[in-house]
């Protein structure tokens, strides 16, 4: 049962505690931003976010050196024992009056083989427009074994009014790709470069 006392009780210092708590707040704020390079590094190592190896990219987070990776020479062996299906899709983002159609909807291949796929893009407007394709691979784990030898996404594409272009992609699915992966989807999203803010205009993607 509580009874009251009249003697003052020693009060622990608020200031010390508050300093610690503010430090925690600052740390977790820093951690939130640190998640960006951490995520980038993690994804670079594992390929989890579906970005492919090959091609060069300087990241905007100062991780350019870490992220850029040159395409390697074709691997020596072809794994004839299994077949992997590669599917292609293309999307045009809002703000880009283009049309994009995969001419090769899907390919069955043996890991290690060199293959080419083609997309057709058409400028539906009466202006010359520059676009940039951003690839993404599903499942993410396949990305690091998906080697692009050459890709239209390595550079920006310029289409004159009404112009139609065929865009090629040369790639190898490396034999190291996980045995459980039987289908890989490569999705491209075309963006209008003029919409994308100036900072990254000259950036190419992998």
């Amino acid at each position: 049962m509580p009874v009251s006392v009249s003697t003052p009780v020693p009060v622990p210092s608020h200031r010390k505690l508050v300093k610690k708590l503010i430090a925690v707040v600052a740390l977790s704020f820093a951690f939130g931003f640190a998640m960006v390079p951490l995520y980038d590094a993690f994804c670079y190592v594992t390929g989890l976010n579906g970005k492919t190896a090959g091609g060069a990219q300087t990241g905007i987070f100062g991780l350019g050196g870490l992220r850029s990776r040159a395409a390697k020479t074709p691997p020596s062996s072809i794994d004839m024992s299994r077949v992997v299906t590669v599917e292609f899709t293309g999307t045009v983002m809002p703000g880009l009056p283009w049309e994009m159609v995969p001419l090769t909807p899907s390919l069955d291949l043996h890991p290690g083989e060199l293959h080419q796929a083609k997309f057709r893009v058409q400028n539906l407007s009466d202006k010359t427009i520059v676009g940039q394709a951003i690839p993404s691979i599903t499942p993410g784990l396949a990305a690091q074994h998906f080697e692009k030898i050459d890709c239209f996404c390595f550079a920006q594409q310029t289409l004159a009014p009404g112009e139609t272009k065929e865009l090629p992609l040369t790639f190898i699915v490396k034999p190291e790709v996980d045995k459980d992966i039987r289908t890989i989807t490569l999705a491209y999203a075309f963006f209008n470069v003029d919409d994308t803010k100036s900072v990254n205009k000259d950036q190419v993607s992998r």
Binding site: V3, S4, S6, V11, H14, L17, F29, G32, Q203
Partner: protein
């Protein structure tokens, strides 16, 4: 020398120098934890009704298939703002209101550690609330991409998106200040003799919740700051066209988001753990295990976030990790449910309104926990993600969990706060209407989700009509019943049978040694806890 504060009037006399100004200035400038607690509670009640009204319109639109009342974009604004306001404007401020009123009273402190900070924490809320409500009226209307604010959709909206980011920033700052205040109060201002392991469980749950707030609100602030800079300052954190990754937003958001759901439920655990022993007239079973259970839930909440992201294309190892980690939370949660039931075992139970709400909490929250477990199973979640099953799950944990525990707490402490007993008959009526209407509204949503009805869509295929009609009718009743709640509260504030110091004979924490209502300055000399 006995307790200093038996007589409220006398206490007022002794402390004339820090007497509150009268009228509106009293509330604007108050640094008194009771005043501020009251403000928090009224604010959240207002937001509860505002966001509830949005839900009524949502249910009206979903009463039958086809578009009746709303354009899809407006419908999306309503679901988004309903969620955002209920979470940040209703549930969280209500729980902070409880902390303000109860923490000092329960640990025998005279006030919060930083009374002026406390005043700021509160008065930031109406500013943020006004911004959120005003965002409905700007060109393009309010935000419509879901309360989770996922890019790329969130990048594309108008000025309302920036207003909402600002509002959430303000709410976050308010929460962080409140949390710092609460932690300092609990750690530094307990009455002599009250060791940590003698603290009422409600205080424990708030201590841990406040730590969660301090740890994750800044992460939310990061996420929305990045959204803002992506929108206006040319960064590409989440913009795929510039080398960013929208999925990264989900990781950052849910690193905040999952602990956030526990921020909303842990203080509720505390309320229920206070009410059940009172009306079972037995001490809480397994106090120590309750404390450890809350702490381990808080810890585990940091390593389960990706269970919201099973369909984003995670590798199997990641899915397995997050699945098992999520299921692990069921263990401490199960311990808590077990302890509540064990507290009831052989108790002399009586069924006053707070007890009814608490018992319903135990039962219905457990249902919500089970549907959470179902969703934690990766193959199942891949089917159920973004269906009404998820909506059913989080309403069972958030309405019958957080909101109903808040109602339990309001009925439990209203006599202490106002000095009057509430109308028990009307309280019970409110309970039964709420519980029945709640289940009529949300139980069918499990079936809708299992049958594949997607969430956040204003229209649906014909086969979902029957369950949607039932849910809508239940929803209207649920909404209307809350008007009764408002009436009971106002009636009790205005008058009623005097409550006496300790209206509940099973209650034994420190606040019941004070008068009802407690004097403006309670525990001016700290009590000694043995």
């Amino acid at each position: 020398m006995n307790t200093t504060t038996i007589n409220g009037a006398a206490a007022h006399h002794d402390h004339d120098h820090d007497h509150a100004p009268a009228g509106i200035m009293r509330w604007l400038t108050s640094t008194n934890h009771k005043d501020i607690g009251t403000l928090y509670l009224w604010f959240s009640l207002f937001m509860f009704f505002f966001a509830g009204a949005l839900a009524m319109v949502i249910r009206a639109e979903l009463f039958q298939p086809g578009l009746q009342l709303l354009q899809p974009n407006v419908f999306n604004q309503l679901t988004t703002m309903h969620g955002l306001i209920m979470i940040f404007g209703a549930i969280m401020p209500a729980l902070v209101g409880f902390a303000n009123w109860q923490v000092p009273l329960m640990i025998g402190a005279s006030d919060m550690a930083f009374p002026r900070l406390n005043n700021w924490s509160f008065w930031l809320l109406p500013a943020a609330g006004t911004l959120l409500i005003a965002s409905f009226f700007v060109p393009g209307g309010a935000i419509a991409g879901g309360w989770t604010m996922y890019p790329p959709l969130f990048m594309q909206g108008g000025i309302a998106y920036d207003m909402s980011i600002l509002a959430v920033h303000i709410l976050g700052i308010s929460s962080i200040m409140g949390a710092i205040n609460i932690i300092t109060t609990i750690l530094n201002m307990r009455a002599p003799g009250m060791t940590l392991m003698k603290m009422p469980l409600f205080v424990w749950t708030w201590l841990i919740t406040a730590y969660l707030l301090v740890a994750v609100m800044p992460v939310l602030a990061c996420a929305i700051t990045m959204l803002l800079t992506d929108r206006h300052f040319g960064t590409h954190f989440f913009d795929a066209a510039g080398g960013g990754d929208p999925i990264m937003f989900q990781h950052i958001f849910w690193f905040f988001g999952h602990p956030e759901v526990y921020i909303m439920i842990l203080p509720s655990f505390g309320i229920v753990s206070t009410v059940i022993p009172t009306f079972a007239r037995k001490p809480l079973f397994g106090y120590v295990s309750m404390v450890y259970a809350v702490a381990s839930i808080a810890f585990l909440s940091f390593i389960v976030w990706a269970h919201h992201m099973f369909t984003t294309g995670m590798p199997v190892a990641g899915q397995l990790f997050f699945m098992y980690a999520t299921m692990l939370i069921a263990i401490p949660t199960g311990i808590k449910v077990f302890n509540w039931v064990a507290t009831l075992w052989r108790g002399s139970i009586s069924f006053e309104t707070p007890m009814l709400f608490s018992l319903a909490f135990v039962f219905l929250f457990t249902i919500g926990g089970f549907s959470g477990l179902v969703l934690a199973l990766v193959p199942v979640d891949i089917q159920l993600q973004d269906t009404y099953y998820v909506v059913a799950h989080f309403h069972y944990v958030l309405f019958s969990g957080s909101a109903m525990s808040i109602m339990a707490g309001v009925y439990y402490w209203l006599p202490k706060w106002t000095g009057h007993m509430y109308d028990e008959k009307l309280g019970k009526l409110h309970f039964w209407l709420t519980t029945i209407a709640f289940n009529v509204t949300f139980f069918p949503m499990h079936f809708l989700g299992l049958a594949g009805m997607p969430r956040r869509i204003p229209d649906y295929s014909l086969q979902f009509t029957d369950f949607n009609k039932i849910a809508s009718l239940g929803g209207f009743l649920l909404g209307a019943s809350q008007l009764l709640f408002l009436y009971v509260v106002i009636k009790c504030v205005r008058g009623g049978e005097p409550a006496g110091n300790r209206p509940w004979d099973g209650a034994d924490s420190l606040e019941w040694t004070q008068t009802s209502p407690p004097p403006y300055h309670s525990f001016v000399t700290p009590p000694l806890v043995k």
